[in-house]
Every structure is written in structure tokens, then in C-alpha cells.
Amino acid sequence: MAFAQKLVCRECGTEYPLGPHYVCEECFGPLEVHYDYDKLRQTLGASEIARRPSTLWRYRELLPVGDAPPVDMGAGFTPLVRAENLGRRLGLRNLYLKNDAANPTHSFKDRAVSVAVTMARQFDFEAAACPSTGNLANSLAAHAAKASIPAYIFIPRGLERAKILSTAVYGPTVVEVDGTYDDVNRLCTELADEFRWAFVNVNLRPYYSEGAKTLAFEVVEQLGWRAPDHVIVPIASGNLLVKIDKGLDELRRVGLLDGGPVTRVHGAQPAGCAPVADAFRRGADDVKPVRPDTIVKSLAIGNPADGIYALQTVRSTGGVVETVTDEEVVESIRLLAETEGLFTETAGGVTTGVLRRLAEAGAFRPDETVVAYITGMGLKTPEAVDGVLKAPVRIPATVRAFEEKVLGRVAVS
């Protein structure tokens, strides 16, 4: 049974049937999926969900896919780890990390892509495509392989070969465009109008973006159908933050979460690309574009499409948007690895750094439940910690050398 009803323009409210529409024909505003929440309230129960497989598809009634068979590589239902060591450092007794590096291609993008490729098949697109250079490229190439549909990955000129490799291994056509990411983005938006291809983050964006809601559903279920008091979410386009809040709201609407206090949604940006944080500090309603200058390339969107909505969400829930410097990003990557054994990419360093800043500023009470979203894994950006880690101790293969050089004492003969 399908519960998704229609697409509604966020700006002007014009409604569209659930088809491959991606922007409003009246004002070019983004389209949002609406569901029949009353019917869902009658149908969807926690015990039924608990019996389902441990993937994001356990919440399929709240995804816009109707009866389409999912393209399922096992994305979602990633561990919610209780972070006792880091919590002790920060004075938090109930700190949790949502480890989305545990997804099939090691980032949260698998959630959106699993939904989008499902719909690409449903709408009978001939191929799946995207402009990307990182997490999205990996995820789309893998899911298209699993769905047996051709994939076209558009990347800007001059990417490192290792980045190309980790996408090319899945067998897509990788198209290297002479230009910047902006040029790639524009080209893909133009191509989306000419070919029956699913550019997942362009002409399937209303569907693609819904996948992120499952990060809210899972955390609530994993906490025993309880909402956290605070969440910390990295901001790139702003979609992830907005959709986590939408997910929490939907659980209330369908009766899976009782009223309770609203979860405060906090945003995290690198100081070198912080247009939303800047607007938050200025108390402004507009998000001014910036030119990114940061090592955190996965958050380096200077003119975020959902920036204004992210800002509204943070303000309406009583959260804040905070920034950290690139230096703090690297420190925070190490902090997370050394305390919790979790190696995250630079975006996770931003989230962890902002978590630390907020904890030190007294934003949380010690017993409050705080969840930080760790969206991707460290091996994707090993450059970040290159040169700042302790070098190996080199020794000859003798016990004496080990004792002298490693244990730092003269051997006992």
C-alpha cells in the first residue's frame, strides 16, 4: 500500500502528482513529498517495524517509493554507539554516535541513493547519473551496479586517481568535465532535461532527499522509541539537517513518538565554508554565498540549496549553528578515533568538533541525550591526518632493540 500522496512546492504550495518532477513549474521552488499521516497512524506500529530486516527499508511506508521493489544493498540501520569515553571527556553521560560510515559504501549517501535508484527503475529511466566527486559518486556507482542499470558519473577535471578509482571499480562511465564542480552541476542539470536519465540529486531530488529521514527514524528506534534531546548534524546543502527534523516530526504525526520536548537540531559547518552559521550569527533570514576555503570538501558548498530551510529548522527547534577551524577538524578526527575507535572523514571531524565546542560552552545538561551524526569514514579523506600522527618506531628485529627503543629503557641482560 502506498502512503506517499503528492509533491508540494515548498515555496508556493503548488501540488504535483508523484512523478519524475523535480522543481515547481511556477517558481522553480523545491518539491517536497507529502504522505497520508492519518492512514499511517492506523497502520504503522513499532512491533511490526521491529520484525523487519535491519536496513532503512524497514521504514518503507515513510519513503516515497510506493510498491516499487527496493534496490537494497543493506544501507541503513547503522550502529548507534554509546560514546562513554568521549562522553566522559565532554561531561556527557548520554552521548551517542550514529555511525553511518557502516553503510555499504561507507557514507550516509547510501540512504538517499538507495531510494533514488529504486525510483529510477520505477520511473523507467534508462540510466542513473550524478555530478559528484566523492561519497555520492561511490554510492551511486555501487547501487547502479546492484540494480543492473548503466551509471554515468560526472566529475570535475583534475581529481586524484584514487578518487576516480573508488568509483570506477563499480563499472560506471566516468565523465571528466573540463571545469569546476559548478560547471559539472550546470551541465548535469541541462542534460537532465535532454535524456531519460535519472540524475539522482537533480531530477530525482524530491525522492533522493527523503532517504535522509531514516537517520532520524533509526536513532529514535535505537533509543527505544525515544527522541534525543539534541542532535548535531553537518551542513553541506542543508538537506540532511532539514530531513532529520522532518523525520522526527513524522514519527510524532504517525504516533510512533509521543509529544515530549522537541529535539534541538544543531548544525555544524567548517569555518572556511559557513554560510549558514554566518546567517545564524547575524540573525539574518538570508544565506549569503561564500567561496569555500577548507579541507572539508564534502561540506564545501558555498551556496547551499537548502541553507535557508536549515536555518529555519535550527531556529525553530532552539538549536545553534557552530563552526570549527580546519585545525580543530583534524584534532577532532583524532579525538574521535582515540576515544571511540571510530575513524571518520573530515565532515565527521566537523560534527565532533562542534559537539565538543557546544559541550564546553554548556549547551547540554550532563544527563541529556545527545546524538552526533558521523556521516562518513576516514579512509575517504586520509590526507586530513597525513603528517600529524605519531610516526612508527623503527627497530631492528631484536628483543634488546624493542626494549631500548620502544620501552625506553636499557635492556636487562
Binding site: L159, L165, T189, N201
Partner: protein, 135 residues
């Protein structure tokens, strides 16, 4: 001085399904006014009531974002191509997801497993190069 305007899907019902419309105009504003005359309804979907470009619309003249040029006053030379595009995933200065700047010392060492696989990709690897223009 005719210029070619590339019409995005959401506006094609106003242009009778045409993807490219030729109109005259010395500046982008003239082009939009002439487009409106030819296909009424285009202007209000591209400009707000103050005559400024709507928030979710990007316009390019010969692949250059008009915000980096002179906005609506941008001159449009004969034969130029104007493209109207929905603003979606980020915008003018975005670099997108995961892009590191061109490599300096980050390539894998010669004996790493990754470099062996890179070797497999080889010169005939499935990477196509192309220009960002759509001609």
C-alpha cells in the same frame, strides 16, 4: 541580434515544447522581455515582482553565471547562448561532495594495493573527457 535561449523543462509548456528559442536583445534583461513577448508567462517564472532573478533560478550567458557577470545588465552578444537553469544542488561557488584540490603528495605509494588497481585502470580507463558546454 538573435541569441539562443535554452529553455528548461519546467518552462517548455510555455514555449510549445521548444528547447531552444531565438530572440533578440542586447542585454539579458532585453532578452527576457522579448522572450516574454513571444511566450507570455516566462518572465514571472524567472523574475520576481521587483524584476530581480528568482532565488531558485540560475541564468548563464555562454556558460558564465550572470552573478559573476553584470546580472540582468549582462550584455548578450550576437550568437550568444543563454541558459535558464533551476538552482538545485548548491550554486555559484559550490565545489560539491568530497572534492579535494588537485593532488600534491596524496597519491598512493607505488607498492600499495590501490596503486596496483590504478594500474589496472590504465590509460584506456573508462574515463571520458569533455567540455562543459552543451553544444
Amino acid at each position: 541580434m538573435p541569441v539562443k535561449v535554452r529553455i528548461p523543462m519546467p518552462l517548455r509548456r510555455l514555449t510549445g515544447g521548444n528547447k531552444i528559442v531565438e530572440v533578440d536583445g542586447a542585454t539579458l534583461r532585453d532578452v527576457i522581455e522579448n522572450l516574454e513577448r513571444k511566450h507570455p508567462g516566462v518572465r514571472e517564472r524567472v523574475l520576481d515582482s521587483d524584476g530581480q532573478v528568482l532565488r531558485f533560478v540560475n541564468i548563464f550567458v555562454n556558460e558564465q553565471d550572470i552573478r559573476t557577470l553584470a546580472g540582468l545588465q549582462t550584455p548578450v552578444p550576437e550568437g550568444a547562448e543563454v541558459s535558464i537553469i533551476p538552482a538545485l544542488a548548491g550554486g555559484i561557488f559550490s565545489e560539491g561532495e568530497g572534492a579535494f584540490p588537485p593532488p600534491s603528495d596524496t597519491s598512493p605509494s607505488p607498492d600499495s594495493a590501490a596503486s596496483i588497481m590504478l594500474g589496472m585502470l590504465g590509460p584506456g580507463s573508462p574515463v571520458l573527457r569533455m567540455n562543459a558546454g552543451h553544444e
